[in-house]
């Protein structure tokens, strides 16, 4: 039950909270994860499952490095999860494309990848491919595609299975997972923290890690954090299952290991509204058919909207509260890609170990106090 004291309380039971919990458990900590209510906004249940490097941190070197480390750590992480739980998250890192139908967007993105290449040197590689070369190597790509970038390090997992496997792994590692436990209040008291759940249950913890996704803003101020997050809506389609494998993975079109094709990648500021819209869904379908015309005849079986978790500048935040040093805040948009580091190096950082990574670049002091207004 949701009572008693834990060594560390993690507020948020999505991919970020569970990965962080797993790392802390492995470091010998006692951890309780408080997962919100069913109807809470849950990025971990609506996302695309990319393990993605290209384009990340082209203009912010620490993020490019951190993402590169995460992508490199994924095979071991997936193997470890399989050993712990017996379930395969379907990691496939055989490279990914970004397809373009607009020449200007294509050259802008190629330039960004050039900057990312300069930052990462031989720890990164990418190709810029013209539409015609692409159609030679990948017959079936549509005539409207003017070009593509390809990064051999990109990949994807089955995101829902990842969430399930992380939950099993946390439980298997001795963690406690309290469900339907939306934390409505948190107060520092006597060297620890008092948490109040929506059903008025109160629990205490010596340390706190706030990993509450879009629920972060409501609690951050109470712990002295200035970080606020905002929702960014993406809409997604999934098609009927196909017998064949698609001959590519892209950031907007991916085939799930079970056969369906997931199409997504839209961005909209719609506040906390996670509904889907006919216009955007039609646009997604049109994009998929432009890239790969054979999809025209394939039917969509489900569509949904989901909300990304965006910090003010879009980069991760790893912060220790100035008022309450035993409170940490962890938030990012790419919880799937970064999961292997959240489950290892981030725990070292939270524990204050000597070999912890230097995460200074991700501190919240880069945001103005007025952002928290």
């Amino acid at each position: 039950m949701a009572s008693g004291t834990s060594d560390i309380a993690i507020i948020g039971g999505g991919v970020v909270g569970l990965s962080t919990a797993l790392g802390l458990l492995r470091s010998g900590r006692q951890v309780t994860v408080f997962d919100g209510a069913d109807m809470d906004l849950r990025a971990s249940q609506g996302n695309f499952g990319l393990v993605w490097l290209q384009g990340k941190g082209a203009d912010f070197a620490p993020y490019a490095e951190w993402t590169r480390d995460a992508v490199a750590a994924w095979p071991d992480f997936a193997g470890g999860l399989k050993d712990l739980t017996g379930t395969d998250v379907a990691l496939d890192q055989s490279g990914g494309f970004e397809f373009f139908t607009d020449s200007e967007e294509f050259s802008d993105f190629a330039a960004a990848l050039g900057r990312q290449q300069a930052v990462l040197g031989n720890r990164f590689s990418h190709e810029i491919v013209s539409g015609d070369d692409l159609r030679r190597s990948h017959p079936g790509i549509g005539p409207d595609v003017v070009g593509a970038s390809f990064c051999p390090l990109d990949g994807h997992v089955n995101p829902l299975r990842l969430l399930q496997v992380l939950r099993c792994a946390v439980l298997g590692a001795g963690g406690r997972l309290v469900t339907d436990a939306h934390v409505v209040d948190v107060q520092a008291s006597g060297g620890g923290f008092d948490l109040t759940l929506r059903d008025a249950t109160r629990v205490t913890a010596e340390r706190i890690v706030l990993c509450a996704g879009l629920g972060t803003s409501a609690l951050a101020g109470k712990l002295g954090f200035r970080t606020r997050v905002r929702p960014q809506r993406g809409e997604l389609l999934i098609t009927e299952k196909l017998a064949e494998r698609l001959p590519f993975l892209s950031s907007t079109i991916r085939q799930v290991d079970e056969g369906g094709v997931q199409i997504g990648g839209t961005k909209a500021d719609a506040g906390p509204d996670d509904s889907e819209t006919l216009e955007v869904m039609a646009g997604l379908a049109r994009h998929a058919v432009q890239v790969f015309p054979a999809l025209a005849d394939v039917r969509v079986v489900r569509a949904w909207g989901a909300l990304r978790v965006m910090s003010p500048d879009g980069y991760p935040v790893y912060a220790r509260s100035r008022l309450h040093p035993d409170a940490h805040l962890v938030t990012c948009h790419s919880g799937v890609t970064l999961a292997p580091l959240h489950a290892t190096a981030l725990a070292d950082w939270i524990n204050g170990s000597v070999d912890a990574p230097n995460l200074e670049a991700f501190d919240e002091n880069r945001f103005a106090l007025s952002d928290a207004a």
């Binding site: 009927e240 017998a243 054979a294 394939v298």
Partner: protein
Amino acid sequence: MKIASRFLTPPEPAATIQLTLDGEPVTARAGDTVAAALLAHSGDASRLTARGAPRTAFCMMGVCFDCLVEVDGRPNCQGCMVQVRDGMVLRRQRGPRKLMGGAQDA
């Protein structure tokens, strides 16, 4: 308005429709759905899932998708939502549909 006029005229009870299932002739009652016709024809599986498990119509009301069948070359049609027509060509699906249409061969 008479209440009866709001409904479709029921077909002649004895009227029949000829169609084929995997090339074999099947006789169905006019007005039946494809799923009903296949159940009446035999209780056999009308498709195999992606993992090879046998399935046939279950809910008969468009919800469960267990009744998927290829109708006139179009894969993944819900048999319980389509009425039989003379000359209809049905094929059982074995696993997921192919990208370029059609069911997977056995």
